[in-house]
């Protein structure tokens, strides 16, 4: 049974001169103990989707259709107050730059205590220190007396994860959790999140554009393009046997997979379509090497064991 499910969600922004369709008919689900990766390039709608999942859509965003269910309750139908309570207790978020998540003038200990107190009942300093230790902070007592700017980026990210876990959420959403970090720290955070998956009884959603992070960390992956999930599959199936031409193109142009000395790196020609004037058919057709006349028609979602692909030619 899934903890968090997104059903037919569409989100658009009112902008000058029209509507920008950021997320279109997205359906996803994530269960306990599972790590779902949401992968895509800038402008694909992954950040909007993450924001919708935690109920923090920016002003100007409108949910045109769909539902986001947390343990069966549709979060989109809740009042602001109920949503806020849910956000603290059942669903937590880790941001790309953890500095922005902390108040610079309060100590880490004070903030964690306030945070835990506000959302999960009063917790003792011992419990907070225990959580810091669990996320790999060497001297929790000292860390609690520090101010956010006194910690390194990696340490701040660990504290942010600890803060998120203190409230024992059902879902932890991590938006580009390693993008601001060095390789060695990135590896450690990936390791930490992977450890947490087994010990913490909730679902983790990781939003990133980094293929390496997806491959290292996730169980299932949803690939987004122009606001749609174009392919969803288990991580191994997706990397071994990508079905959507966009997934294939994306995987093949990562400098990390191309053998060195092979000359030019493959690229994806063209640009993402204008999100204010999307074609009726496949949004990727204009850049797709396999496109044919039929691709201009609306795309049926092709489902098979454990995966779904949004492509006319996926059956072929």
């Amino acid at each position: 049974m899934s903890v968090l499910s997104v059903e037919g969600l569409s989100v658009s922004y009112r902008v000058l001169g029209g509507r920008l369709q950021a997320v279109r008919d997205v359906t996803l689900a994530v269960g306990r103990g599972e790590v779902l990766g949401i992968m895509g390039e800038s402008g694909c709608g992954k950040s909007t989707l993450a924001a919708a999942m935690i109920g923090l859509l920016p002003q100007g965003a409108e949910v045109a259709a769909g539902a986001i269910r947390l343990n069966g309750t549709d979060m989109l139908r809740l009042s602001g107050e109920e949503k806020r309570r849910l956000r603290g207790q059942r669903i937590a978020m880790v941001f790309q730059d953890p500095m922005t998540a902390f108040n610079p003038v309060l100590t880490i200990g004070r903030q964690l205590a306030d945070f835990a107190g506000a959302h999960g009942g009063v917790k003792g300093a011992a419990e907070i220190a225990g959580m810091l230790e669990r996320v790999g902070i060497p001297d929790p007592g000292r860390c609690l007396r520090r101010y956010p700017h006194e910690l390194s980026g990696g340490m701040r990210q660990r504290v942010a994860i600890a803060a998120a876990l203190l409230v024992r959420p059902d879902v932890l959403i991590a938006d580009e959790p390693t993008t601001a970090l060095d390789v060695t720290m990135e590896a450690q955070i990936i390791h930490l999140l992977r450890d947490l998956r087994s010990s913490f009884d909730g679902a983790i959603v990781v939003v990133t554009h980094h293929l390496g992070v997806i491959a290292e960390l996730c169980d299932r992956v949803a690939v987004m393009y122009a606001g749609e999930v174009v392919e969803e599959a288990g991580v191994d199936a997706l990397f071994r046997d990508p079905r959507h031409p966009y997934t294939r193109a994306l995987l093949s142009c990562d400098p990390a997979v191309v053998m060195p000395g092979s000359g030019h790196l493959p690229t994806i020609g063209g640009r993402i379509p204008d999100l204010m004037a999307l074609p009726a058919g496949c949004a990727f057709a204009a850049r797709c090497g396999m496109a044919e006349a039929g691709c201009a028609a609306p795309v049926p979602r092709h489902q098979e064991a454990g995966r779904s692909v949004l492509c006319h030619r996926s059956a072929a």
Partner: protein
């Protein structure tokens, strides 16, 4: 033939800033490296390794406290030396959008180097079009402002601007940082094309090892402001001689779920430059540190042809890995 850029034992120390205090904090220590004509050299390290400071020192944006910098075999000294260097070398900044002056148009920005160096520019618009075309941007882009550009476009404008005066050397600070995977590939291809076409030499500063493998002929690894390893890229990646290099390579997330690493190659983080460890500065994080590493600082010593490493056990390690490598390929 002399190298385009030659750094000999360059050191940078920042004043600690106390009243009347002459104490200085060493950021870079005795860094020597050279970039040959048309060669591409990568400078690798984590944040705090001093790699950006080095780029700034080369461009004269950061005062050097020791050592010397030479361009085409001639020492860069004083204002005249820096002016010569800034004409022959160009820098691409990590944050491409932020490195473009926000109130000026792209057309003005790409032709600005001509104005700065007093080079005659009879047809600025034509030159702007030509430079933009060279980096694959449409001429209409000349009328845009920096905030109207996407990350990839801003990066291309940065390249166009760097190329304006036909430099021999381009210093690129994290040229693919913050770009999408497909755009990264485009920028790297562009850099490769321009190198072939114009005979450019690159000094690329990055922590992205995938990038290094693709574009660099040689790699220089920095740790806490010291060179810990340098050598030809292919050899260094195949058999790193310094454990730090080895752990950087191992830490890189691989886009292949079947090659997940279950153990961590390296723990903890780079120590503060305010509290440098004794002996070998990497011993606090080194998986193979022994007693001698805590006490004695190793020198940067040759390890095979064209390679150097700063490790007591570099030779041993290289031999071991060579064997392993041979086994894997059998």
């Amino acid at each position: 033939m002399s190298a385009v850029l030659d750094l000999a034992r360059v050191s940078v120390a920042l004043p600690l800033g106390g009243f009347l205090s002459r104490a200085r904090l060493p950021i870079l220590m005795d860094v020597s490296l050279s970039v040959g004509r048309g060669e591409s050299v990568a400078l690798v390290g984590e944040s705090g390794s001093g790699k950006t400071t080095l780029a700034r020192a080369v461009m004269g944006l950061q005062a050097v406290s020791g050592g010397s910098i030479a361009l085409d075999g001639q020492a860069v000294e004083g204002a005249a030396g820096h002016a010569r260097l800034r004409r022959a070398a160009a820098m691409m900044f990590q944050d491409a959008t932020a490195s473009l002056s926000p109130r000026l148009t792209v057309g003005y920005l790409v032709t600005e180097p001509f104005r700065i160096h007093g080079v005659a520019l009879p047809d600025p618009e034509g030159m702007a079009r030509e430079l933009l075309a060279k980096v694959g941007l449409p001429p209409a882009m000349a009328r845009r402002y920096p905030h109207e550009l996407s990350g990839g476009q801003a990066r291309r404008v940065g390249v166009a601007r760097a190329l304006a005066l036909k430099p021999r050397l381009v210093i690129a600070d994290e040229p693919t940082a913050g770009l999408d995977v497909s755009v990264q590939a485009e920028v790297l291809n562009l850099m490769a094309d321009l190198r072939a076409e114009m005979g450019l030499a690159y000094l690329i500063i990055t922590h992205n090892l995938a990038l290094v493998r693709h574009v660099a002929d040689r790699v220089v690894v920095l740790y806490l402001g010291r060179v810990v390893e340098k050598g030809p890229t292919a050899q260094v990646f195949a058999a790193p001689a310094h454990p730090y290099t080895a752990s950087l390579i191992a830490a890189e997330p691989r886009p292949d779920p079947r090659q997940r690493r279950m153990d961590l190659a390296i723990r903890g983080e780079v120590p503060s430059v305010l509290r440098r460890p004794s002996g070998c500065e990497f011993h606090t994080r080194c998986p193979m540190a022994r007693e001698v590493c805590r006490v004695t600082a190793p020198d940067l010593a040759p390890v095979g042809a064209g390679r150097q490493a700063r490790c007591h056990f570099a030779d041993q390690r290289k031999d071991q890995q060579g064997e392993q490598h041979a086994v894997e390929h059998r």
